[in-house]
């Protein structure tokens, strides 16, 4: 196994492109090191990118935030302006593992690990986050929901990696929230999860809504119909029922000892409802 800290994005891309064997990109390492130690993966090349410019930074950009691919959850949690703007995104990021894991784990790592149950992913998808991808052909911006393609798989080509995540500017009356179901109170993997991100007009009517679910399909899923069901409403019972039906229709979960298909599907709908109500309240809406 080789461990390399390249001097530039270009050098990283060349290294990753030219390596014929298995490669892993090291950010927080909280998944890569586990794979390494359990011998699930025996990489030929590990590329550490954390030291590169911008990887450790949270910066303001166009009224939103750009979060470097090496920023750990704990740092995001402590960033007051980011926390105030995107409480739902932070809620997801701070549910990954323990305090110790939080000190290292990153949202980009969580995304690229490709788990359908990754806790920070539904919040980013609902937020409309866009990741910046660097590769042999240069740079491109990709909506976050287009990155995972299946359990452990991403749409990134050989030599490509994510350098940062962009969370857009927030209109005045907006809010987001993330919830998951686990059978314990802490330190567990989501059996199902949901995130909602709402924008309201001055009388509390929803003008824009994005709903995403986790652990109920091969990837985290953006449920466009669920968002559409909420637009134009003040989260009345009919709108909520339509939204939940859309969420349930989008679920195609696995059936295992942690949750049956029926249970995962039902709880995803309920969590989406609850997340929507929390997001509504955070956006300043009252019922």
């Amino acid at each position: 196994m080789k461990y390399v800290k390249p001097e530039s994005l270009h050098a990283a891309s060349v290294l990753l492109s030219e390596e014929p064997g298995t490669t892993r990109i090291l950010a927080g390492g909280t998944d890569v090191l586990v794979q390494l130690r359990s011998e699930v993966v025996e990489p030929d090349l590990i590329v550490d990118l954390k030291h590169l410019e911008g990887f450790g930074d949270i910066t303001s950009e166009d009224g939103g935030f750009r979060i470097g691919a090496g920023v750990p959850s704990a740092e995001m949690y402590e960033h007051k302006a980011l926390h105030a703007a995107w409480p739902g995104v932070i809620e997801g990021a701070e549910l990954i593992g323990s305090t110790q894991i939080q000190g290292r784990c990153t949202m980009v790592g969580n995304l690229c690990n490709g788990s359908p149950a990754g806790d920070s992913v539904p919040g980013m998808v609902a937020a409309g986050a866009v990741v910046r991808v660097h590769g042999p052909d240069g740079e491109r911006d990709v909506p976050v929901e287009e990155i995972p393609t299946g359990p452990g798989k991403t749409s990134l080509a050989k030599g490509e990696f994510i350098t940062s995540i962009f969370l857009p500017a927030r209109p005045e009356r907006s809010g987001d929230a993330y919830l998951r179901f686990i059978p314990r109170t802490e330190m567990d993997i989501a059996v199902s999860s949901a995130a909602a991100n709402l924008e309201l007009d001055t009388d509390g009517t929803v003008t824009s809504a994005r709903v995403a679910v986790g652990a109920v399909a091969p990837t985290v899923r953006l449920v466009e119909e669920a968002g559409t069901a909420l637009v134009g409403s003040k989260l009345d019972d009919t709108a909520i029922a339509n939204m939940m039906a859309a969420v349930e229709a989008a679920c195609s979960p696995i059936d295992d000892k942690r949750g049956t298909v029926e249970f995962r599907t039902k709880t995803a709908g309920v969590l989406a409802k609850r997340a929507a109500h929390i997001a509504y309240e955070r956006a300043g809406g009252s019922k």
């Binding site: 090291l26 090191l33 323990s98």
Partner: protein, 158 residues
């Protein structure tokens, strides 16, 4: 495999070591630097027995490659007491018998110290959540939580 020559600061002292690319920080602390206070429990970041502070963040040293520590700062359980003078957390853990077999104790002390530096007066719930990644299979946790509260009170009044 190509070995690395790494320079770090451990508990305030300069430390250099040679390591292989797949060695973890925990491996190096225990096997190359002779600091066996940090324990290997699970080796996969679940149990917290290997907790150390890396560049001012609480982390599992089993999930850090030793080569990543280049130019960094590591604080371990060995740096917690001031010579023979125990840290209040260490003293209270002994007084209140907040340990049995002791394997989880160094990690819990390092994690609890990190908590009290951020929040000198945490609630029981805050302590329990903060230490959720430190598993203890002996005590049932109550004495640990009580000891952290008592040490926090002692440190606040000091």
């Amino acid at each position: 495999m190509k070995n690395f020559h790494i320079n770090t600061t451990v508990n305030g002292d300069e430390a250099e070591f040679i390591c292989e690319p797949d060695e973890t920080l925990l491996d190096v602390l225990r096997n190359r630097l002779g600091m066996t206070g940090s324990k290997e429990g699970c080796g996969t970041g679940d149990c917290g027995a290997c907790s150390v502070i890396l560049n001012d963040r609480l982390v599992c040293s089993c999930l850090v490659l030793a080569a990543e520590a280049e130019g960094g700062k590591v604080d371990t359980i060995e740096g917690m007491a001031d010579g023979d003078k125990l840290h209040p957390l260490q003293k209270v853990f002994i007084e209140k018998a907040a340990l049995q077999c002791g394997v989880c104790t160094p990690g819990i002390l390092v994690a609890a110290k990190a908590l009290l530096e951020k929040n000198p007066d945490p609630s029981e719930t805050e302590i329990r959540y903060w230490l959720a990644g430190n598993l203890c299979r002996c005590t049932g946790y109550d004495k640990i939580i009580k000891a952290v509260q008592d040490a926090a009170a002692e440190m606040r009044s000091a």
